[in-house]
């Protein structure tokens, strides 16, 4: 029997029982659909996060003090002179020192507890933040340790509502600061925290808190980001007297990390989650496969006479085996295709709805996931179809013809 004839026979058997075929496929449709949906939603959000990181943090490097657990003391490994040394590196474009200030901020009766950064004007450049009104922090502010503040978008609204904050006086802890600038919103869910801080000059923060060490440094790299990180690592190890030729992060008392590295971590986490959720969804494929086997067994019993007839007119064992196997594979493949279309459509819908709330979420259809889903459907059809098909092929033609 020609393969095309076997396929046509399988198709006819499926289309003759449309409702039953559809119900049989439902498990596969849901299984494949969930795999495609979960993976594409995971991929879409990963793309979204990476886009955000890339947009806001291109060439950005952050240096944190580390080693609290190891050295058993507060994180005081980054000093102002480290900052000055890093500033002199030829591969660095701009560096900003930062001190975290933990105080309440008041204006009139309004009181909030935002992040307060004591930093320099480079900070805004490093994170791509733009001014909405007034001015940014200047070198003059820093030199004179002026009591001035720049407010992020959301904080300005929280404290002043519709009023213009420029020139107004706010209290940070026990000191008064004049608001000199307000930043534009970054307009992103991912960067939401960047819309809430209050920025004061580094020197002012140091005077207010008495803290000599830096909480962290941010900088922009000029060229190759990995080379810049290597420069920073070698400079700071030398300054801190650390011998670490293998680059073991546990031996350092600081960590220089690029946004790209952060993006890689995001990628790894979302990949892990996607694979995990995809596997759970894959379990429903097994359930779907059992449904296929069940219906195919019923079908073999129901069509015993037909099998007998086919054998009586010359069908060989493998003709019957192939016919029933192709039926189950056709069912799972059809279910797989419907599942892919449905899963992808739902994925697009999720991306479209999410875009309305958190900014553009690009829809990503993972081709490897599609191929994996189709292969899983195919394998499900083969694995769960083989037993009923073998049962059909083994039927004796006489017994099958006489069967009632």
């Amino acid at each position: 029997m020609l393969l095309s004839d076997t396929l046509a026979t399988a198709y006819r058997a499926i289309s003759t029982h449309r409702m039953r075929s559809l119900l049989t496929m439902l498990g596969i449709i849901i299984g494949v659909g969930s795999v495609v949906l979960m993976v594409s939603v995971g991929r879409s959000f990963e793309r979204y996060v990476l886009d955000q990181i890339e947009a806001f943090s291109s060439n950005l490097i952050e240096i944190y003090p580390t080693g609290f657990e190891k050295f058993g003391r507060t994180l005081d490994s980054l000093t102002y002179s480290d900052y000055e040394a890093v500033s002199r590196l030829s591969t660095v474009e701009s560096v900003a020192p930062a001190i975290f200030v933990t105080e309440k901020v008041q204006y009139g009766t309004e009181e909030i507890s935002p992040f307060i950064f004591g930093t320099s004007s480079n900070f805004f450049h490093n994170y791509g933040q733009k001014l909405a009104s007034g001015r940014l922090l200047t070198e003059a502010d820093e030199k004179s340790a002026r009591s001035v503040a720049v407010l992020a978008h959301q904080t300005a609204i929280d404290l002043f509502g519709q009023r213009d904050p420029i020139g107004e006086s706010i209290r940070v802890g026990s000191r008064s600061y004049t608001v000199v600038g307000v930043l534009e919103s970054l307009g992103s869910a991912l960067m939401q925290d960047m819309d809430t801080p209050v920025y004061i000059p580094f020197t002012t923060a140091r005077a207010a808190t008495g803290q000599k060490e830096l909480s962290y440094m941010s900088m922009k790299s000029k060229g190759d980001i990995d080379l810049t990180i290597a420069d920073i690592n070698s400079l700071l190890r030398q300054r801190h007297g650390i011998v670490n030729p293998d680059g073991d992060p546990d031996k350092d008392d600081f960590r220089a990390r690029s946004a790209e590295q952060a993006a890689e971590i995001v990628g790894q986490v979302t990949l892990g989650l996607t694979v995990f959720i995809g596997l759970i969804a894959g379990v429903s494929l097994v359930v779907g496969g059992i449904g296929i086997m069940n219906i195919m067994l019923v079908s073999v019993t129901e069509r015993t006479k037909e099998i007998g007839l086919r054998k009586a007119v010359g069908a060989r064992k493998h003709d019957i085996l192939l016919q029933f196997l192709l039926e189950s594979v056709t069912l799972t493949l059809l279910g797989g295709i419907i599942g892919i279309v449905g899963g992808a459509a739902l994925g697009m819908l999720v991306a479209a709805v999410a875009s309305k709330f958190i900014g553009t979420v690009p829809f990503v259809l993972s081709i490897p996931a599609l191929i994996a889903a189709i292969l899983m459907a195919l394998v499900t059809g083969l694995v769960f179809g083989i037993y009923p098909a073998k049962k059909a092929a083994e039927l004796s033609p006489m017994a099958a013809i006489r069967w009632n």
């Binding site: 086919r310 007119v313 010359g314 069908a315 060989r316 064992k317 006489m398």
Partner: protein, 246 residues
């Protein structure tokens, strides 16, 4: 080498038993039978006489337990399942009591079914051959009908067309009128008789009805698994073209 005059079918001391675990149930004993090409033969006998079992062996649906079975002089000893299937696809065909047509399938597709499994007839010839067979049983106008839209007699004629389509050496008809009213029965028997008389087909009819058996030119009576009588050259009944096919 088989001689040119070798009979179509020859059995020598053919026996058949069924085995249920250790229990042997003999069904056929020492069947010695010769069927020449072009014969129209009836195998008669009451229920349990072994006539269907004999037909299944002669029709390559089953193997004998012992004895010889020669087809055109060739010994058919211990053929495997695929070899039996190939012979069924090319040399023999069946008409069953219950018609055994595919439901929700057209007359044409039913008649074409054996051609799907025929090793040498090309796919391009299927429709033409099937339409020719359908014309032979006078159902051309019903070719596109689903089989469940036809009467019992018409359905059995579709089964006859299906048996004809591969141009087999021999057609086995197992109680072909058993499920039909008398008029339809006559039509079906006329159709079989016409195949023999006009086209020279070899037909083996299995029946327990004397009136049906008498359409053949030779009647074999089976009793308790043995040939009780083998009568040839008696006067055949004819329906005088009453139910004659168009």
């Amino acid at each position: 080498m088989p001689s040119k005059k070798a009979p179509l079918i020859e059995t020598i001391d053919l026996c058949k038993s069924y085995f249920n675990e250790e229990l042997e149930t003999p069904v056929l004993f020492d069947i010695n039978l010769t069927i020449q090409e072009g014969e129209f033969l009836s195998i008669m006998g009451p229920s349990g006489s072994g006539k269907s079992t004999l037909m299944h062996i002669l029709g390559f649906l089953d193997n004998p337990t012992s004895g010889k079975f020669l087809f055109r002089g060739d010994r058919t000893k211990s053929l495997n399942d695929d070899e039996l299937a190939r012979i069924r696809a090319t040399r023999v065909s069946f008409v069953f009591q219950a018609f055994n047509l595919l439901p929700r399938t057209s007359v044409l597709d039913n008649v074409m079914l054996p051609l799907l499994y025929h090793p040498t007839i090309p796919a391009s010839e299927r429709v033409e051959r099937a339409m020719h067979a359908i014309a032979t049983v006078g159902l051309t106008e019903r070719a596109t009908y689903f089989t469940n839209q036809l009467s019992g007699g018409q359905q059995q004629r579709v089964a006859i067309a299906r048996a004809l389509v591969t141009e087999p050496d021999i057609i086995f008809a197992d109680e072909p009128t058993g499920n039909l009213d008398s008029t339809s029965g006559i039509q079906v028997m006329d159709a079989l008789q016409q195949l023999h008389d006009d086209m020279g087909r070899t037909i083996v009819l299995v029946t327990h009805e004397e009136a049906t058996a008498r359409h053949a030119e030779r009647i074999i009576h089976l009793k308790d698994g043995r040939i009780a009588s083998d009568s040839k050259k008696f006067k055949r009944v004819r329906s005088n073209g009453k139910g004659k096919l168009k």
